[in-house]
Symmetry: C3
Subunit: 340 residues, 3 copies
């Protein structure tokens, strides 16, 4: 796959500054650009690389003004970042294998149904009474339990597990090794100190356009449903406990954990390793910092909380900067005590 | 499956307040109750829902006194929570598929043995010289290595992996994607800065009634055994390192991690994301808070520790409340310095 | 497999103090030693067990001087720890199954190639156009995607997943359930608040002698490569995001997480649950404590950082010891305020 800079500029509705006949066949990061590659510059932190890159061309935004000479060619577009994403998508379509058909051996119970244009990889498993839509890709070693419903155009990556009764909307992507619908962690303490498992008879519902990261776990509800709403994106190794609700377009980064029955509002962001206790509600548009613990409901939308026990981020940073020199503060106190 | 309230009351040895002929066919959460559903009220936090619920009936405890009018019917029992658990269990027995027999293709080395009433799902694997008891369910994609011993009535969920030499008691449940018996993380530093793997020749022993959560990892011992004692319950995404011992009826919540050779006493609770360093001992009946780090042995039983470096919980909360206003404290100090 | 102490001493180039005819057939931890077992003493913390152990022999270093009487026999060697490791290795070679050949059913696309001396377990999967070296062991349920390159003598444990385009050097070990090459977590926010996935067209490169722990996830790069350099050892349940670079001989303990595009210098150590934000660089020979968060680049090599927001470890411990008694400090301040 090879394009001239002129062809690329036409595709992106942009203009070439340099030689439109030069050919490129690869996407490069700007700091690693080599002849034959095309890069992009959208973040000013990377501007210095423009003046050194050996990439054949760099995509920049219309209003960008170079501050030094450079060797490369420019393609000017309305928005460098989204143009580059557009190329990435085209590139991905050409290079990624879009598998279809059935590899053998695979297993599908005869009581289950799957739509047109599907892929079922070798060693994939589909249990009883499943309803699976059109264009669904079920990769090798993927497991679909019993009475599972999956919408159109979902991708179930290798070794992902969708347990009994789960319901997936359209365009969901379940990454390798993720578990959707494992049993909730519910035990009734007995008089002798032992625990008895409480049956978990609910399920998991993933609405449209939900993404679940590699080796993430989403437990089914005790009763009712654990729900991940439309457009929410969950990263790798996240724990989502029984009866949790995650709002529309909320993003949860890697290794975060949400305890049972808590609700996260829409358009929120949980950074990596954030932890939410059970039975609380987080308002919409909340940002929860990395490794931040939240133990009480957050009612006012749009806040940013941070810290070991999540609090206003600015306040936490002030306190922490004093904490770092707590010894100094104690010395000042001692000094005053001597004088007193 | 449909019951009258009268039948339910008889099953639960309780009494109906309302119409015993009304029929229910579903379990509902009280806040989501609809006609035809039965709910329960055990936690006073949810009492307000009783006066609004549209569930056909609510199970309450004998001594409960309503404070307002309500539309639903009541079933009074000795203990609302355990009665509801009883119904859940009955419900689960009817609805959950109790698979048996062998789905093909599956793999079992001829040198291994498995008892009566088993299920071996498609693509399940059993290696050499395994001894597997009666009533064991081995789900699709489950992996049982070589020389593994499994007691009666265990459930090995889809894609769970039980590595070489592991020993499981009776009634153990290994949830999807969990790994039992992976190699311990032991490396001997070499003079050139590289590391050489130390062979891990021990195993993992799970005693009776142990539950291991989805995608949790339990490493085998360097020598001897990593041991999880009778009745311990481990949640999802937990890390249990080589040579750890977890006491009887101890509960470990999601994303907690226990480093090599540490011992956790019986009847303890580790909350989510708790972390325990290596080579220490935690006394029995200890409660370790969420995201709490413990770096020293805890000798006195029954304590609750909390905080970044685990300490007495009350003390931590006092310190943290002052930490939140550390700026204020510093201002007071400055004020005094001016006067001095 | 049975040896006399004399034979063992010869193997280890050491000498016997006691009866060289006594036979041993097992390795024991010193605190659990029984007749017929051989133990070792390398860490003085365990010396007390020497005087009580019932092991038939204990390996000690040449210069060790017992302080009390003991019942066992000694084998004196230059370095007790490395001698014991040597025995462990020999023992492991004898007892661990070194599988070879192909178990059926397994799946390998005809466009892929694999070298001599390989093992392909039942239900293992190899996609299109893969190049796999000699002596590679691919265990049951392992997944190798398309266009994957694997060097010689690698071990891909049960259920490990190596996604499209990944490149592994020689002597790599991928533990059960690990995911190498899952899609990076990259989404472009849209005007309506939703997110659009940014195609991740890069790959993962693991250099020689890299070990990846059970259920760990390593994302592929957006462009270019996520790289784990020669000899790095990664524990269980670790998250390594897109475009991360981990230096030679760096060790990352369980449940640590490294965000996108960060670089960790060589010969560093990340303790359990450590967290690194995106787009920073950590100098070589850095030690990052357990549960420590690092949000800024570390430029000076050889430091030890610790704490909620990583700082100099000694400084943190001083501050934390004052934090634990912050109430006391506030009382002293109040006292002064009264006098002022």
């Amino acid at each position: 796959m090879e394009f001239t800079l002129g062809q690329l500029a036409e595709l992106l509705q942009g203009t070439v500054e340099g030689d439109p006949q030069i050919k490129v066949n690869r996407l490069d990061k700007i700091q690693e650009g080599k002849a034959g590659g095309v890069s992009f510059l959208a973040n000013e932190k990377y501007e210095a690389f423009l003046y050194e890159t050996e990439a054949s061309a760099v995509i920049v935004s219309q209003n960008f003004t170079p501050k030094k000479p450079y060797k490369t060619n420019l393609i000017r577009v309305r928005d460098a970042y989204s143009s580059f994403t557009q190329i990435l998508e085209t590139y991905a379509q050409f290079t990624k294998n879009s598998q279809s058909g059935v590899e053998e051996p695979s297993y599908m119970d005869p009581s289950s149904q799957i739509g047109d244009g599907h892929y079922r990889g070798a060693f994939s498993y589909i249990g009883k009474k499943c309803q699976i839509g059109n264009g669904v890709k079920i990769h090798p070693h993927a497991y679909i339990g019993n009475q599972v419903t999956i919408g159109d155009n979902c991708i179930i990556h290798p070794g992902a597990k969708i347990c009994d009764g789960s319901v997936l909307g359209n365009h969901c992507e379940i990454h390798p090794g993720a578990v959707v619908g494992s049993e909730g962690f519910g035990f009734a303490p007995q008089e002798d100190g032992s625990y008895k498992a409480i049956p978990q008879i609910g399920n998991v519902i993933l609405e449209d356009h939900v993404s679940i990261g590699a080796n993430t776990t989403v437990d089914c509800a005790t009763m009712g449903s654990t729900i991940i709403q439309k457009g929410a994106k969950i990263d790798n190794l996240v724990q989502i406990a029984h009866n949790v609700i995650i709002g529309e377009n909320t993003v949860v980064a890697a290794q975060a954990g949400i305890s049972g029955s808590s609700e996260i509002g829409k358009n929120s962001v949980l950074a990596g390793k954030a932890g939410i206790v059970g039975h609380i509600k987080i308002a919409e548009k909340t940002t929860i910092g990395a490794n931040t613990g939240v133990s009480k409901s957050i009612k006012k939308p749009g806040q940013t909380v941070f810290g070991y026990m999540g609090m206003d981020m600015k306040q936490f940073l002030k306190s922490y900067s004093l904490f770092k020199n707590l010894e100094e503060l104690e010395k000042r106190l001692k000094e005053l005590e001597k004088k007193a």
